[in-house]
Amino acid sequence: MKLDKQTFKLDRATGIGYFAIFAGIIGVAVCIFGFKKFHAQFFYAYLTSYIFWVTIGLGGLFFTLLHHLVDATWSVVLRRMTESVMAALPIMLVFFIPVCLGMDELYHWSHAEAVAHDELLQHKSAWLNPKLFSIRTLIYFVIWFIFGHFLYKISIKQDSEGDPEQKLKEKMRQISGPGMLLFALSITFAAFDWLMSLDPHWYSTIFGVYIFAGSLLSILSFITLLVVFLHKNNILNEEISIEHFHDLGKLIFAFTVFWTYIAFSQYFLIWYGNIPEETVWYLHRWDGNWYKVSLFIVFGHFVIPFLVLLSRVPKRNITMMTVMSIWMLVIHWVDLYWIILPNFNHHFHFSLIESVLNIATFLAVGGLFFAYFWFTFISQSIIPINDPKLKDSIKFVNS
């Protein structure tokens, strides 16, 4: 892998993409087997992996929108990376097809007979029904596609045409305003539909923000790891400095606290109110061995990253940042697992089949999503070469 110093395009970098495709195909093969043999179990594992990668994609969209909205300087060198993640997001619509196929197993409200015996579901059926569910999902993806597509296209145009009068930059900024609003609404409703409705009696209005917090944490960790990987290959070592790591570290720290604030707010109100129809959700996550996972998340998603990333030193240490980024991605996956799986596996026992299915679905969705991202990424300059603020971004220092 080599960087062309003129165009800032990666040469001979397709290997990683093919490797990801290879991993994806192996995953898909195991998935097909798992789908036939362990129907319900497969769909739960699939949904976990699917949401994990979708939240990374959504994080990319959010980061790009935010970058343009606040006219950020420091993150210009990272912009093309988040843009490429965002541009790969529409492919996740294809991967949603298995979720639709598994609707019967995953979503209790999709059974006509269950609805017939459940008054609450009858009242909710105007919103929670298979047809409208699919249409809404399509709408979310159309929103994400439109904003991702235009922002990416204009950004590429800026590379080839230059932007001396900052018109393209201004245009991206204007798109990002409504983009941010629709992003907030779409991720909230997507979280309600895909995850919260797994337990159709339960509701929490903050749930979408909770998923968003995890989403942003995972894209920040993903970008950190990507930069570490590029640096290992002596790419962009001068353009992306320790100062950028420091800022990524600050954001990971900040959103660890944000996640905790949201997670606790959700828990706290339900704990205080003590209404059975609300508390049952937490009860399911305390039953059997699930309490161990719950405690693991409290420590792994808050206490450990909070204490580790509090000081300035680890944020400016690439090894520490690498470890913490991997850790945040792992814990984000555990968090999603903890949201999804108690609906299926009520006591949380370790099972080999489940682990294999988790890995297989993770590779299937992740491998192909990553390959799509990677080929998008290497098809263009890996930093926005004509961004008016590029030089300032490279020189940027934390003071």
Partner: protein, 182 residues
Amino acid sequence: MSNSTHEIEGVLAEFSNPYELLKAAEKIRDAGYKKFDCHSPFPVHGLDAAMGLKPSKLGWFVAMGGATGAAVALLMQWWMSAVDYKIVTSGKPFFSFQAFVPITFELTILFSAFTVVFGMLLLNLLPRLNHPVFNSEQFKKVTDDSFFISLMADDPQFNSEKVKEFLESTGGKNVEELNADE
């Protein structure tokens, strides 16, 4: 005010832009002077490094302040709700950490904020009522359009003639002695 009998408190030099200020600060740092300060109408990036200042210790004080706040809040609520005045509230245990989190959070922030403000004053040796630089007429421009470096007499290497020459060699203009009040 008669100058001749007064003890010299330090030397002041003027610089016309932030770049000159930075370069001069680096030279003074490299010459080994410790008791000097840069004065500017606005924050200058990179000045900390140019002056050879270490990162502030304030962060560690704030961490301790925050931890104290959290401990005080938890102890206070434990004593109030579980020891001194026990009342069953909506069937919850007397010591319910969940209910105590908001107060703990707020007191952590409050104590941290207090430590930031008072720790900053302490580390800057403030409040202080006067400083020899205020006796300089030209120093008034520091809030408008000029940059200054003051090198104080309590520096172990201080020698007023040498320092004056040295500041001029770093590009300083209008070098003057600073005198104490009568």
